[in-house]
Structures are given as structure tokens and as C-alpha cells.
């Protein structure tokens, strides 16, 4: 798995993504800035591409950090309640502050995602039976509990449709002015890269980290903050994208191992390639209409996940 091949694939898929859609746009249209085609290109196509790239990188790296810190290959924002906690946060902000501003939603969603993940890590600490499959099952159950609380209060307060909108990861609604929050993931990714070695060391366990003079608790908490930040921004702009943070880091790990300093770039770019491919498939299959991204990623992702489960038990033990 060479980095440059992944980058070339990402570039090719990006250009397909830019020129694919109900309105036929050719590169020459773009020369005329006042044309409708150019406008669509700048208001819709480019933001969509940027959103896919940032979300793809972000969710994959978030998954990678979580798998390293929890020392479990199957833990990710989807299987540890992070995304469900973020949704609950948005709901609470809407319930308690009538017409909550975007900023309030962000703060609440972030706080809940962080606390939700911390609680999961605490549960993890107390479980003696650390089976590779058992842990994410606990995480999924925990996420479903959070989710059911969200749905209950949303139902009571006639907010169910809003909830559905976040449940549904969808890039078709991304236009200029509605995705910029995702840029938060850029500094987050830079910090993740700077701390890559410390995450790897922390992933070898507390005793191992302490032996090398690494402040384990600090690195752990930093990692969880980064994960919560990425998850929040993605849920608020795109919605839930399942499996991404689970599959991509695992595919890279099989080939390249778990040294984050080495695998982080691969993971980020493969995340982009995977998400772009799923998005393009979703846009082609019932052209000119499209299938939301969480459906395509869900179907393709769960298939890959199952293959990994059956073939990879030995690898993930």
C-alpha cells in the first residue's frame, strides 16, 4: 500500500467528483465566472469535495487514535458511543435553549461527545474480559442506549425529523456556508501527527508509556479531545458516517502495522479515497438522483467489516 498510489487515486476520484452531477459541467464552463455552471461549481461541487476530504481524513484518524488508545482494533467513534453522544448533545442544546445557535450546538455536541467517550473508556477499564469482539459490542450497546434516550426526547418534543437528519450522513446538502466547521479538523490532524509517537507509545499500555517517560494520562485525554472534536464537526455538518473510522485504520494496519507516525498519512488518504468512492457510487447508481452517503458507506463498509471479522480474528486478537 504505497502512499503515492493512494494520493493519485484520491486526485482522480476528486476530479470525477467535481464534474459529476445533475448539471453537466465541463472545465471550459469554469472560465466564464458568471455562468450558472461556474456558480454551481463554486457553491456546491467544491464545498462538497472539500467536505468529503476533511470528513474522510477526520473520521479515519479519529478511529485510528481510538483504536490505539483503547488497544482494541474494533473501537471507533461508531462503536464507542461517541457519535451517539454527540447527537444527544445537539438535542439537549435544542431542548434547553429555544432556537439554539450553531455555536451552542457545537459546544454541547462536543461536550457530550467527549464525556460520552470518556465514560466508554471508563467502562473499558473496568471490564476484565478484554475480547476483541466483546468490547465493541459493549460500545454499540452503550451507543444504542444513548441513541434511544435521544430518540425518546426528540419524539416527545416533535424533533424526530431533525434527529433523522443527523442520523443520515449526507453530502448532497453541503453547500458554501454549511461545511466550514469541518476546517476544525485540519489543526486537529496536525496535532494528531505531532503526537503520533506518543499515541503509539500510549497504545502499548500505561506501564510501557511510563517506562519511556511519556505522560500517559495526558496523551490519553488529548486523544479523546481530538476524537470528540472531529466527531462533533462531522456530525454537525455531514451527519453520521458509519464504519469509516473502523475499516480504514484496520486496512492500513494489516499492511503497514500500528506505528502511527508511519501509518497516519496512509490512513488519512485512504479515508478520503474510500469516502470519495462511496460518494461517487451513491451519485451514479440512481443518477440523476442520489443515495445518501451513510447508506453506501454502510453497505460497503459492513461487507468489508464482516470480511475482516471472519478473516481477521487472529490478527485482531
Amino acid at each position: 500500500m504505497r502512499l503515492w498510489i493512494l494520493i493519485v487515486a484520491a486526485v482522480i476520484l476528486s476530479s470525477i467528483s467535481l464534474f459529476l452531477g445533475a448539471t453537466n459541467i465541463t472545465p471550459t464552463d469554469l472560465l466564464d465566472f458568471s455562468s450558472d455552471e461556474a456558480e454551481i461549481f463554486y457553491i456546491s461541487r467544491i464545498p462538497r469535495l472539500v467536505a468529503i476530504i476533511l470528513a474522510g481524513m477526520g473520521m479515519s484518524i479519529a478511529g485510528l487514535i481510538m483504536q490505539s488508545l483503547s488497544r482494541n482494533k474494533f473501537v471507533s467513534p461508531t462503536t464507542a458511543g461517541t457519535l451517539d453522544a454527540a447527537k444527544l448533545g445537539i438535542l439537549i442544546s435544542m431542548l434547553f435553549f429555544a432556537g439554539a445557535s450553531y455555536t451552542q450546538q457545537i459546544i454541547f455536541s462536543f461536550a457530550f461527545a467527549l464525556i460520552g467517550t470518556l465514560v466508554f473508556m471508563q467502562i473499558l477499564n473496568r471490564i476484565k474480559f478484554k475480547d476483541a469482539i466483546f468490547i465493541p459490542l459493549i460500545g454499540i450497546m452503550y451507543g444504542n442506549i444513548l441513541s434511544s434516550i435521544t430518540v425518546f426526547f426528540a419524539y416527545e418534543n416533535d424533533l424526530l425529523q431533525n434527529i433523522d437528519a443527523w442520523l443520515m450522513g449526507d453530502f448532497s446538502l453541503i453547500i458554501k456556508g454549511r461545511y466550514e466547521l469541518l476546517y476544525v479538523s485540519i489543526p486537529v490532524l496536525i496535532i494528531a501527527y505531532i503526537y503520533a509517537n506518543r499515541f503509539t507509545v500510549a497504545g502499548m499500555g500505561e506501564d510501557f508509556a511510563k517506562n519511556l517517560g511519556v505522560r500517559y494520562k495526558f496523551v490519553l485525554n488529548l486523544g479523546l479531545v481530538l476524537v470528540a472534536l472531529i466527531s462533533t464537526t462531522v456530525v454537525l455538518t455531514v451527519g453520521v458516517i458509519p464504519f469509516l473510522g473502523l475499516i480504514v485504520p484496520n486496512l492500513v494496519s494489516i499492511f503497514k502495522g500500528d506505528n502511527l507516525a508511519k501509518t497516519l498519512p496512509h490512513t488519512a488518504v485512504l479515508g478520503v479515497v474510500f469516502l470519495l468512492a462511496c460518494d461517487i457510487i451513491g451519485r451514479v447508481i440512481i443518477y440523476p438522483y442520489e443515495i445518501p452517503i451513510n447508506l453506501t458507506v454502510g453497505v460497503i463498509g459492513s461487507a468489508i467489516f464482516l470480511i475482516m471479522l471472519f478473516r481477521g480474528r487472529a490478527y485482531a486478537k
Partner: protein, 254 residues
């Protein structure tokens, strides 16, 4: 020199380590032995700062170890603990390189790379340095971790039951390496051992613990005799001399 002074650790009300004072001599192998639950591992964890003591102190030379910066401490004292779920996919070389983390923070200098190469060479791992840890046998993995500690280049090397899950051949191999670390590289090794005969054959000094207290302490030959062993293990253990080694024949004792 490491001096342990009146060290205690309580889990709940029970003192797991109870007012222990011990001096570790440099340039020697010191083994901690004793029955299960004697507090050997807990003591080792406190000496290596993995656990905080409830009372008492540990002095490295003349400094209280709690006052030493974690970077500096990691350059003086290393600890290997047995970890049951090591499923991280690192290559041997990557693992050994992390031994240089206290010095390099992950950006290896020329000098760091030299240390890593030497450590791999010393442990005969150069040929297999690009293999992943999860593809190795228990003995190879243990050697990789010891190579990491060698690269870490600390004066003191602490090991918690390094022979666990190893067969006889690999156990002997690991103990010979530890002996070499002391005799050739001048390290000080402190080791928690279950097998009393490995302690007898390879260590210079033995600290025997029981119920959280030091019950016997001294040069190996002062400890490996039937009288002392009776006090430590409550067993009548005949000791036989074989090629200059004292072997405890405990298998049919009572």
C-alpha cells in the same frame, strides 16, 4: 545505588508491601523471590515509579525518585512488565527505536540509530528486525523487549517475571543475556523470579519477601540453603550442589 526506605503500599486495609527497606547494589543481579502475594511485583512497580508508595521513599543515588523528571528517570531506570495483550503491530526495529524515546522524542538522531543497531545486534535480532511483534514466538518477543531496554541505555534494568510463558531453552537464553548485561555492560538488574533455581544460578543477591516484608536478604549463597528456604516458603527443601550451582529440589518436598 537504589535505596528503598520504609516503603509501604496498602490495597484497602491490607499492606501488600509492609515497611520494606532494602539497598540494591550496583553492577549486580538482584532477584526478588517469595511465595505468591508476597509483594514482589508491587515493590518492583514502586521502585520503577509505576505505582506510588503510600509511605516511605525510594532513593536513586541520593534523590527521591518522585522528584526526578520523568524524562530523566526514563534515562536511568527502565522496567519491563509482563503484558498479556500485546497485540500492537510494530516491527522489532520500531519497538527497539521507541527505547530511544526519552532521548529523541521520536526523531532519531544518528546516535540514536547507532544505539538501536547495536541493541538489535546484541540480541541477535538484526536479521529479523522488520518482522511484526505479533508474528514472533514468546521467546523472540521477549528478546525484542530486552533489546528495547538495551537501546534505552539505562543504568538500572528492572524486569517483572521475564520468564513467564517461556520454555526452558528460552528461559536460559534470557537469563544468560541478563547476566551479560551485568558482566559486560555494567548494568544493574533487578528481577522478580518465580523459579528459585534460576534465582540461585544467575543472581548475585537475593531479596526474599513474604507477606509484604523482607524476610531474608543477602548474597545468593546465604539464602539458598534449607534453613533460609524453610523460613521463606514453609517447605523442607533439600539443596544440592551441581557443578558449582546450588539447586533446590523442591518437587517432592512438604
Amino acid at each position: 545505588m537504589i535505596q528503598v526506605k520504609e516503603l509501604s503500599k496498602f490495597f484497602g486495609k491490607k499492606a501488600v508491601v509492609d515497611n520494606v527497606s532494602v539497598t540494591i547494589e550496583t553492577g549486580k543481579i538482584t532477584s526478588f523471590i517469595g511465595p505468591n502475594g508476597a509483594g514482589k511485583s508491587t515493590l518492583l512497580s514502586m521502585v520503577s515509579r509505576l505505582l506510588n508508595a503510600d509511605t516511605g521513599e525510594v532513593l536513586l543515588d541520593t534523590n527521591d525518585i518522585r522528584r526526578i523528571k520523568s524524562d530523566d528517570f526514563a534515562k536511568r531506570v527502565s522496567i519491563l512488565k509482563q503484558s498479556n495483550f500485546m497485540n500492537v503491530r510494530l516491527t522489532i526495529r520500531e519497538l527497539v527505536s521507541f527505547g530511544r524515546y526519552p532521548y529523541s522524542k521520536g526523531r532519531l538522531s544518528e546516535e540514536d540509530i547507532k544505539f538501536v543497531d547495536q541493541a538489535l545486534d546484541y540480541m541477535n535480532l538484526t536479521d529479523m528486525q522488520d518482522q511484526f511483534l505479533d508474528e514472533l514466538s514468546g521467546g523472540q518477543r521477549q528478546r525484542a523487549f530486552i533489546a528495547m531496554v538495551i537501546a534505552q541505555d539505562t543504568d538500572y534494568v528492572l524486569l517483572d517475571e521475564p520468564l513467564n510463558n517461556l520454555d526452558m531453552k528460552h528461559s536460559v537464553q534470557i537469563m544468560k543475556i541478563l547476566r551479560k548485561l551485568v558482566d559486560e555492560l555494567g548494568k544493574t538488574v533487578i528481577i522478580v523470579l518465580h523459579d528459585i533455581n534460576f534465582a540461585s544460578v544467575y543472581s548475585d543477591r537475593i531479596v526474599a519477601l513474604k507477606d509484604g516484608r523482607v524476610i531474608k536478604e543477602g548474597p545468593t549463597n546465604d539464602i539458598i540453603n534449607s534453613d533460609a528456604l524453610k523460613q521463606i516458603y514453609d517447605m523442607d527443601i533439600p539443596v544440592q550442589e551441581q557443578n558449582g550451582c546450588r539447586i533446590c529440589v523442591y518437587f517432592n518436598s512438604h
